[in-house]
Amino acid sequence: MTSVRLMSADPSDRGSQRCRLGPGLMSVLGLSVGSPLLVSLPGGSCLCTAWPRPDLAEGFLQMDLKCSSPSLIFNSCKLLNLDPSQLTPVPCLKLKGIKINVVVQSADFKKHTAPRIVHELVKDMLKGVFVHEKHVINLEDFDTEIKYVVVKNVSPDSAVSGLITSKTGVEIVGVQTVQHYKSLLQDQHAVPLGGLEEVNALLREMLELPLFYPGTLSSLGVSCPRGVLLVGPPGVGKTLLVRRVVGEVGASLVVARGPEVVGPRPGESEEMLRALFERARAAAEEGPCVLFLDELDSLCPRRTSSAAPENRLVAQLLTLMDGMNKSNRFLIIGSTNRPDSLDPALRRPGRFDREVVIGAPTLQQRKAILSVLCARMPTCPSVDMTELAQRTNGYVGADLSALCREAAMHAIREDSKCCLQGSGEQVVGMKHFQEALKSVSPSCLRSSLGRTDLSPVSWEQIGGLDEVKLKLRQSIEWPMRYPEAFAHLGLRRPRGVLLYGPPGCAKTTLVRAAATSSHCVFLSVSGADLYSSYVGDSEKALAQLFRQARACAPCILFLDEIDSLIGSRSDSRTPNSVQTRLLSVLLNEMDGIGLKMVERRGTARILQAEGAEENHTQEQLDCQDVCNKDVMIVAATNRPDCLDSALLRPGRLDHIIYVPPPDQQARLAILQVCTKSMPVGADVCLEELAAKTELYSGADLENLCKEAALLALQEENMEASVIKYTYFLQSLSKTSPSITAQQIRTFYQTPPR
C-alpha cells in the first residue's frame, strides 16, 4: 500500500482532534468516522480521531495535534511520508478516571485561581477528548490561561488511552507554568560532562538540600547558602556545568547576560536587573530555580570613585542579593574568569556564600573529558585516552573539544582524499589526533609571553657531554616518566636547574633537547618580553608568566641568560632596579608560601591524592597528577658569580650543573655530529682535528666545519664534491677559540655555591 503524505492541519480543524484521511485508507484500516487512531511519528505519537477528507482524496494525512507526545507539541512536524503501518486504530474506551498536570500561562493565574475553578474548567475542556497516557493535551484553542494538560496516568489501569466523558473523574496532581514545563522538557536531553563531578555534586547539594529537607535546615536555625561564584579560566566549562546541573535537578534556569541587562538610559539597567530577580522569584515558587549571572565581571566591575553608571548597577545587585529572604528559594550562580575585577562587596558570605574554583583540568579530568567527547565519535581502538590526556597538558575542556573536532576533520579530509567514493566508514585514529595536536594549542597559553615553537632536538644531536645529559634527564625527564618510583623513594622533583658554563657549550640546545624528550609545555622568556617602561609592569609580567605556566603544568620555564635578566642584591650599585624587583618576584614564585586561591586545580583530588601518597598503592596517573603539578625552572648563564645567592639555594635552583667546554673526546663527538651531513674527504682525520682544537667550544667547532665547507666551495668554484682535510686545517688557522683558559679557571675557582 502506498504511503501517505503528512501535511499541516486545516485551520478549521484546529482543536478538533481530527485526523483527515482518504476514505479508502479508512476502510482498509477498519475505521469509522470519529474512531480513535494512533499515529506514530518520528519522535513521538499522536492520538486523534479519523475523519474522511472533505474532498475524499487519498494519499494525504492532516491531523490536529490535540493529544500528542510532548516532543511533538513544541516541534512542528515537517512534511514527511508516513507508512500506513504507522497508523493504528485503538479501542474506544470510556475512562473512569485520569490524573493530570495542568500547565498554565502565568504564575499569576496559578497563584490567584482557586483549585476548584481550575478543576471545573479543565474538566469542561477535556470532555469528549481522546487521551493517551504520557501525552500532552493542547488546550491553546480555548484561548484561556490554561494551555496544556499533561496526562500522568489513566484508569482503569489496563487502558493506555480512552475517551473522557462527563463521568470521568479528573484529578489534578499539580499546576505548572508553561515556561517551567518547557524548560523541563528541554533539559531531558543534556550533554554529559566529563571531569567535573566534584563541583557538580556540590552544586547539586546546594540546590537539592533545601528542597528535600526543608525542615532540617530550619530546625538547625541556619539559612541555606544561596550564592555560588564559579571561578576559573575560560573554557573549563563553567556555563555548561550550570546548565547541566540545572537539567539534572530539574530546576528552572533564569539567565542574565551582560548586554541584555545593561540598557542605554539611566536607571534602565537596574530596572532590568530587578525584573530578572522578580522572574527568578516567580520561577522559584514552582520548584528549584537558578539565577545564572554569566560573565559577572562585566556586569559588576569593581566600583570606582567616579559616578560611573556601573556603580549603581553593582549597588542594585548587592541590595537585591541582600533582599532575598528565606521564602525566595532560588540559588544565584555567578561565573567569571576574572575574580579580581569583581566588586569586593559581592564576595562575602550572604551574597556569594561559596566560591568554587574550577581550575584547568588535571590528567585524570582530561581523560574523563576526552572519553566523554569521544564517546560519540567512531574512534579507532588504537586511540589511547591516557596517552592523549598526557599529551594535552594545559588544555581545558573547550580546547579538548576543539582537538576532537580537528581530529575528526583530519579523518574526513583524509577519507575524501583517499577514496573519492567516500563509502568507507570514517574512523578517527591516533594519527589524526596527533595531527590535531599540532594545530590546537592550549588556550591558557594563547596570549602567553614565552610560548615558543621550538624545533625538536634529540639528545643524539648533541655531541659529548654525557654526564650533563644524564643529570638533566634525571631532573627533568625521570620525574615525568617514573613518578611512582620518585614517590616510592620520597623524592620530589627538583624545582629548578641551573646550567652554567662558558658560552657556546650547548646550554640552550641541551634545554631544548630536554623539552623535546619530556613532551611538556616549554616556555622561554627573554628580557625583551619582560622589560617595560612602566614601573611594576615587568614584575607583573613575570608573575603572570608563572601563573600561566602553573595552569598548564608540568611545564618547563626557561630563563636564558638569567644573570642579565635577574639581578643580584649583593651588587649594591642599583639597590632598587627592575632587576632586583624581578628577582624578588622570581624567588617568591619559585618557593613562595603557596598558590593563589584561583589557581587551584582539580579541587578535591589533589588533597586526596596527597594523602594517599603515603601508602604507595595509588595509581600511576594519580601520582603523575600530584608529582607534576609544579613548574620547573631551567636557567642558563655563563656568569654564575653574578647571581643572587638566595636563588641558588636548594629548593629553588636545586641542581646546578656545570656544562664544561668539551674535552678531546667530546670534541670528536661534536665534530662527528657536525660533519654528519657533510661530504667529508677520506683523508679527513677528525681525531687529529679534535686534538688540535683545545679550548674550542661546541659553537666554535660547528663554525669551523662551516668555514671549511665554505672554503671548499670558494676554492673549487661551486663544484666541490667533498671537503678535503686541507680546508679544515685552513679554517682552523683562521679561527681562534672563543674560550680562554682564564675563563675556565674562574669557573673552576668560583663555583656558584
Binding site: P23, S32, G34, T113, M125, D141, F142, D143, T144
Partner: protein, 202 residues
C-alpha cells in the same frame, strides 16, 4: 439493508440541526442581555477606582462619617448583584450548550451503533439536495465545539475576576466583547443554510 438505519440517522440529524437553529437564537438573545450587565460591571469598577483615587478628607464631603467605607460597601454590593445576574445568564448559556451537546452526542451514538450497516461509501455519499452524513456530522461537531469554546471562555473570564484587581474588572467589558467570533457564528448560519434543502426534504 442500510436504508432504515440511514433514514433514522437522517431523522436524528434533522432534529439536531433544528435544535442548533433554535438554540442559536436563544444564545444570541442571552448574550445581548449580558452586554449591559457587563458595561455596568465596568462602570462599577471605574467608580471604585475613582473612590480609591480621591481623598475624601480633602473634600467638603468629609463631614459625612465613614463615607469611604460606606461607598465601597455600596459598590461591592452592586458588583455582587451584577455578578449574580451574570451568573444567571451563564446558567442559561450553559443550558444552551448542554442542549446542543446532548443532541450532538445522541446523533453520534446513533451513528456508532449503526457503523456496521452504514459503510463509508454510504456516509460519504453526497447529492444535489443533501450533504453527506459525514459532512453533517462534522458541522454538528464544529457547532458544538464552538458553543463549548464560547461558553468556557466567558466562564473563565467571569471566574477569574477579583475584587482586589480593579484593572481586571475595568477591562472586563472589552474582553467580553473580544470573545465574540463573528466568523464562527457565520459558519453556523452557513451550515444551517447548507442543510436547508435537507431539512425541508422530510
Amino acid at each position: 439493508m442500510s436504508k432504515p438505519a440511514l433514514t433514522s440517522l437522517h431523522q436524528a440529524l434533522r432534529k439536531s440541526f433544528q435544535c442548533v437553529e433554535n438554540n442559536q437564537k436563544l444564545w444570541k438573545s442571552v448574550l445581548a442581555e449580558c452586554t449591559p450587565l457587563l458595561s455596568s460591571l465596568g462602570n462599577l469598577a471605574e467608580q471604585s477606582r475613582a473612590l480609591s483615587n480621591v481623598q475624601i478628607s480633602n473634600t467638603p464631603l468629609r463631614l459625612f462619617p465613614d463615607l469611604e467605607g460606606r461607598l465601597r460597601f455600596k459598590l461591592l454590593q452592586a458588583t455582587d448583584t451584577v455578578l449574580g445576574k451574570l451568573n444567571d445568564k451563564m446558567t442559561s448559556l450553559q443550558s444552551v450548550r448542554d442542549a446542543i451537546s446532548n443532541q450532538v452526542c445522541a446523533v453520534f451514538q446513533l451513528y456508532e451503533q449503526n457503523t456496521d450497516s452504514l459503510g463509508l461509501p454510504v456516509v460519504t455519499e453526497r447529492s444535489a439536495t443533501a450533504p453527506s452524513v459525514t459532512d453533517m456530522l462534522e458541522w454538528l461537531q464544529d457547532a458544538e465545539r464552538h458553543y463549548r469554546h464560547q461558553f468556557l471562555r466567558r466562564k473563565t473570564l467571569l471566574q477569574t475576576l477579583r475584587a482586589d484587581n480593579l484593572s481586571l474588572l475595568e477591562s472586563a467589558p472589552e474582553r467580553w466583547k473580544s470573545l465574540e467570533s463573528p466568523t464562527a457564528d457565520d459558519n453556523i448560519t452557513d451550515t444551517l443554510c447548507k442543510v436547508s434543502f435537507f431539512m425541508e426534504s422530510e
